[in-house]
Symmetry: C2
């Protein structure tokens, strides 16, 4: 079975989106700073359905290695809505969306989305089965928190960006008050970003 990995950019003060995020403001106020490193170099990275990114060479290596092994994705309904369903091209497929009710316009033949109404544990289980030996990518903070509490997360991969957002969507909260030990796997200096990877010790 592949690993369940949280991937996202985060501000130094721990936010994955700035204040007032929502449809029309998907990264929240000031949140574009979280992804400046996507455009801070001259190594072109082309993803399906996206404009070309231009990262530093070191960041491109880390980024491509990170997405190379993704076999499925799990997100929360809020991220799905805020991202406008990524116009139908989510960053990982199949994309399992944890929700109370499935939006009928996306329940159709060929949809990259699978709506899971019986909770995060079920979504992770289905995503692992779909991914096979590849990894399951989690990128909603809320889903990551639930996975950590339930012992379902294997690794945390963060792109730490040089900004203090001061508010917004905090990545780490409501984890309980028992320390969770990690093993540091890598710390790689990019250009205007640091790539950190940890294993969650269970």
């Amino acid at each position: 079975m592949g690993k369940v990995i949280f991937h996202n950019s985060v501000s130094l003060d721990g936010f994955v989106a700035g204040p007032n995020d929502g449809p029309g403001n998907p990264l929240g106020d000031g949140g574009e700073a979280l992804f400046r490193w996507y455009f801070s170099g001259d190594t072109e990275v082309q993803l399906p359905g996206s404009p070309a990114l231009k990262m530093s060479k070191r960041s491109a290596e880390v980024f491509l290695e990170g997405i190379r092994t993704i076999g499925a994705m799990v997100v929360g309904r809020r991220m799905f809505d805020i991202a406008g369903a990524w116009g139908g091209t989510p960053p990982g497929e199949p994309c399992f969306v944890v929700t109370h009710t499935a939006p009928q316009e996306w329940v159709k033949e060929g949809s990259p989305f699978i709506f899971v109404t019986d909770g995060v544990e079920s979504a992770i289980e289905q995503a692992k089965a779909a991914a096979g030996d590849n990894s399951v990518a989690v990128s909603s903070a809320n889903i990551a928190q639930q996975c950590i509490r339930a012992g379902l997360l294997d690794e945390i991969h963060l792109a730490v960006t040089p900004v203090l957002l001061g508010g917004g969507v905090r990545l780490f909260e409501q984890l309980g008050d028992k320390p969770i030990e990690l093993e540091q796997l890598a710390a790689i200096e990019g250009d205007g970003v640091t790539h950190l990877a940890y294993r969650v010790i269970k």
Copy 2:
């Protein structure tokens, strides 16, 4: 004038102490994980008034470079109390303590402590004058927050440690909701720790 630099170890979820910190539990529950890197290698580092630390070589270089230039220190009263006044040997001297009232037992000839009752701005100003060309070290989260809000902090140096404490004393909060831009100065992988340094862009 020297720079004003925040130095401390922080958990990946942004805490500088675990829950329930206080005298007798200075790092809070689980907070000893923040300083495991002090004892994770075989390079001996001897500080006055402390038992010898044994860090990895890379961490020792970063650590010694960090303390080499310290000419004065500014802390909050809470840290002073919780640390038991470091038994009279604070990690940086002179040590300016921001407080409402000065503890009379430490107001004496030869005391390394100077009690500042008219606020953080005054403490930083006095510490800069005392430090000359050397730096002023800040390590209380609360003082750092006040310095950031007042535009008094020049750099942030963090030792990011592989643990999620889940609660305790958060380093970054109450910063206002306007993003504060940083410049990434260094990201250095140690053994079980990552040393990050940023300049605050004003």
